[in-house]
Subunit: 525 residues, 2 copies
């Protein structure tokens, strides 16, 4: 790996310090909305008209993106260089959905061919489940599919499933409803199982290493539940794992589908981690369309000109907000109930990737790195935390997502407009209210404005748009990691907790008295 | 209302500026865990041992709490003074569950008696639904109850329902499952309705004013859905509203239950807004126990000594983190899957209450006010955003919640321990890892520690503990608002968006070209 620079090591960094937030009330107008809207793939457009960076700032950010060789670093990822230096691994999630820079062949393996062949096996398996050809212990067809996984094996696939559940139902493609068990809290598994019949339930165990504590504990609970009901667990379980894991080629599972160490958990939704359950629940065509949308966004992200590269623009504007304007959080606000869990996925994607304090050379990062990310769907958020977003002492940059059409057809008019039109009128109003604000003689009714936002907008939240949306954010986070010279693909910050947990669970309890004190308080001994 | 001071107007404010974060690795020990744990009601304990405020800081915060008369301001709330000055209203959510400072009688109305009588009517109605005495259009008993509401009419009641759904199921108290429709996005209502039968569905329309746009649009959609299926909507709908609303005493509803202007939306979970649906779904005894737990926490919050008042301590420590140590966000991390939506409720409660920039006298607040609040259940968060919490350039104070026992009984041992023990061993480990950290020769594997946290811990998440948990946070947020001299009970920040939305939805569209440009981009004309 080349000794890439951090953004604050560039000569232009000092001049960027002098850039101020543009006064949006003065500059935001219809012309700017038209000029600052660019394609993001899958039919989506990315609009950054309401971001408070002026033309000179954009020019400077563009120069810095070139100086940092952001597109080149992405090409290094996409061609299979070792871009996860801490773990000495390639980073191949793009290859799970395409070959933006051609094939990646190492040590005799063509990775695109490998991921495709696993998805082809998953497709064949999914068709057997959907058609009813594959049956459970008692000969009944499967009606529910349940993913057992945590972190990236849960958040991304769950967000994508929920994003398309109603879409697929309306189009007759929802053959099996999906559920998810993630938390080691047994109330999670018991809650999900209370709505299932053992006979008709198929479980997907997802763990790359095959050693994830929570996932194995939940598998064990589910197996006891199946056995107690007279089922043969091996007829109700499949695995998604790596070829070297104890779950691979194991007679305890109907089948196993493989990923490898080059697909990080939070980047795995377009691999078999998402592919198996989504193909079973929503159909193989649906998952294929997600991949195609993601691949289109990946191709667009190769564009070297910042003003034509939505993911890179989003990344650089985010760094301007975080490091220059000093804004430590980002709110993701999809005006789409189907995206209810998409912010939780982005929270992992962004915060686990860029919540770091040393760069790829092991030096302390000298500027703030990844922001805190949170969000809920609109209009719900308007009746909740938007108060703070509008009138707080702090400014939180906003990322809106919207669609022109519903997923479902039933939308009777009420008081002169459909609910869809009301929804999008609200989104329109919020963008403008945040940017422009409003004066009032009563200071409590005064809106300062100057709250910047971006907008990702498409016709409909269909599989292709969803795939592009997912990839847009993956690529944005990747570009930000490059700019901070952070390794966005490891997560050493999870290790200490794991180690201390083992100490608490050791036969004689923890020798450390502090761990002992908290373990006693929590009844964990 | 008295001219109360802002915390930064106190003489002691300057000396507080000199207080530094305590180095937790040096001071956190079992003795401190024992000393810094105090009761919070409902069987909960509040532990602030792992907060990085030293004894001198605590003493200073205690002095400031007295100087600001925080307990006195709470007594003013609880005795019916006009403590929502902007809207010139009393603030009576405490009275919905008790009389911490005696009865509140104004203009001939005894408010405790009024709220109790509404809950008694709700109880009688709930029993008729649960017993099957009340039936729908076709004579079948109701099997599902659906709340139509948004903001406080959705988040609090939904969080409480989910918190006790499995608890009630295991104890045979879950007579009807509950669902919630909130978003004006019609994909929300259509998604919920796809899992319901019109004949057996009872809807609760919740809107204090009776004019909430989203809620009325969803009611309209639900009524069309009921009518299309041959149902008489008025036999499937009840209302929770104010006595002066168009929904009150309206023949379109089976019955109406009343709240008033003195119960703010985000504080309404213990009023009929939460009481009707929770009593129907989980039983009247269950809701009564929630109220009793909340009332106990309310009584404890009257304690003038900071070191004996969990809610006030939590409030003052939060201000120390926010204003002195400069930490703008808080993460709420319940180690309980049942609390999956509790952070979303707290997000509204806190951010809508204290995300303000002018004080109660209309002056600009000169210190940062309410923080951004987000969170997800553990252990899930450990596999997601905890990376940033452990190793980021920023420090985010943490609020853990844990319980010693499961809600559900099925918890087979796996690899030598139950899942419950694994869950709480993880929580133990995280508190210590965040506070103490760990050195490593590899800077990427180094944990700086110094990440402060609080812990609310109880035996079991039962109705009483849940009520206390809810009230603890309500009171914490209230005390913080007092300290910042903010009106925590209004939400003027939601008004501008509403107004601009009407403009977009006007017959000829918006006259403002900027609104027009965004409305066109979003297809909202």
């Amino acid at each position: 790996m080349k000794p890439w620079k951090r953004i604050d090591e560039l000569d232009t960094w000092q001049s960027l310090q002098n850039r101020k937030a543009e006064v949006l009330a003065k500059v935001l107008n219809p012309g700017r909305v038209a000029e600052r809207t660019i394609p993001a793939g899958g039919g989506l457009d990315y609009s950054y008209a309401a971001m408070d960076a002026d033309e000179a700032t954009l020019a400077e950010l563009g120069t810095m993106a070139v100086a940092l060789d952001l597109p080149g670093q992405y090409r290094a990822v996409a061609t299979g260089e070792v871009m996860n230096p801490g773990e000495r691994r390639m980073v191949l999630h793009h290859i799970a959905r395409g070959t933006p820079c051609g094939p990646v062949i190492k040590d005799g393996r063509d990775y695109r061919a490998f991921y495709e062949s696993e998805q082809a096996r998953a497709n064949a398996f999914a068709e057997k489940v959907r058609s009813g050809a594959l049956k459970g212990t008692t000969g009944r067809r499967f009606e529910r599919v349940v993913q057992i996984g945590i972190g990236g094996s849960d958040l991304g696939p769950r967000a994508l499933y929920l994003a398309l559940e109603q879409w697929a139902r309306e189009r007759g493609r929802l053959s099996l409803r999906a559920s998810f068990i993630s938390n080691v809290d047994p109330d999670d598994a018991n809650g999900v199982l209370s709505g299932l019949e053992p006979e008709t339930s198929l479980f997907i165990l997802v763990s790359k290493s095959g050693t994830t504590q929570e996932t194995l504990a939940n598998e064990s609970l589910v197996k006891v539940w199946l056995s107690k009901a007279g089922m043969n667990p091996s007829k109700h379980l499949i695995a998604v794992t790596s070829e070297s894991s104890p779950l691979a080629r194991n007679p305890g599972y109907l089948d196993s589908f493989y990923i490898d160490d080059y697909i990080g958990g939070r980047y795995s939704a377009t691999s078999a981690v998402g592919g198996v359950i989504l193909s079973i629940a929503l159909g193989t065509d649906t998952f294929k369309a997600i991949l195609d949308g993601a691949a289109e966004a990946d191709r667009l992200a190769l564009e070297p000109d910042l003003r034509k590269n939505a993911a890179m623009m989003d990344a650089m504007l985010g760094i301007f907000e975080r490091d220059i304007l000093g804004r430590p959080s980002v709110a993701v606000l999809p005006y789409s109930q189907a995206l209810s869990r998409f912010p939780a996925h982005l929270q992992q994607l962004d915060m686990e990737s860029n919540g770091k304090r040393v760069d790829r050379q092991g030096n302390a990062v000298r500027v703030p790195s990844g922001p805190a990310v949170f969000g809920e769907p609109g209009t719900n958020g308007q009746h909740s935390f938007f108060q703070l977003l509008h009138q707080s002492t702090d400014i939180i940059p906003l990322q809106f997502i919207g669609f022109r059409k519903n997923q479902t057809g039933f939308d009777p008019e009420f008081e002169g407009s459909t609910a869809r039109r009301k929804l999008n009128a609200n989104l329109t109003a919020q963008i403008v209210a945040f940017a422009v604000g409003k004066d009032d003689i009563d200071p409590n009714k005064c809106f300062p404005g100057g709250r910047p936002s971006t907008l990702l907008v498409g016709d409909e939240l269909d599989p292709s748009a969803l795939g592009a949306l997912l990839a847009h954010y993956e690529n944005k986070v990747m570009f930000q990691g490059f700019a901070w010279n952070i390794n966005s693909f490891d997560q050493e910050g999870v290790q200490l907790g794991k180690k201390l947990t083992s100490t608490v669970l050791a036969k004689d309890g923890p020798s450390d008295p502090l761990l002992g004190a908290y373990a006693r308080l929590l009844g964990a001994l």
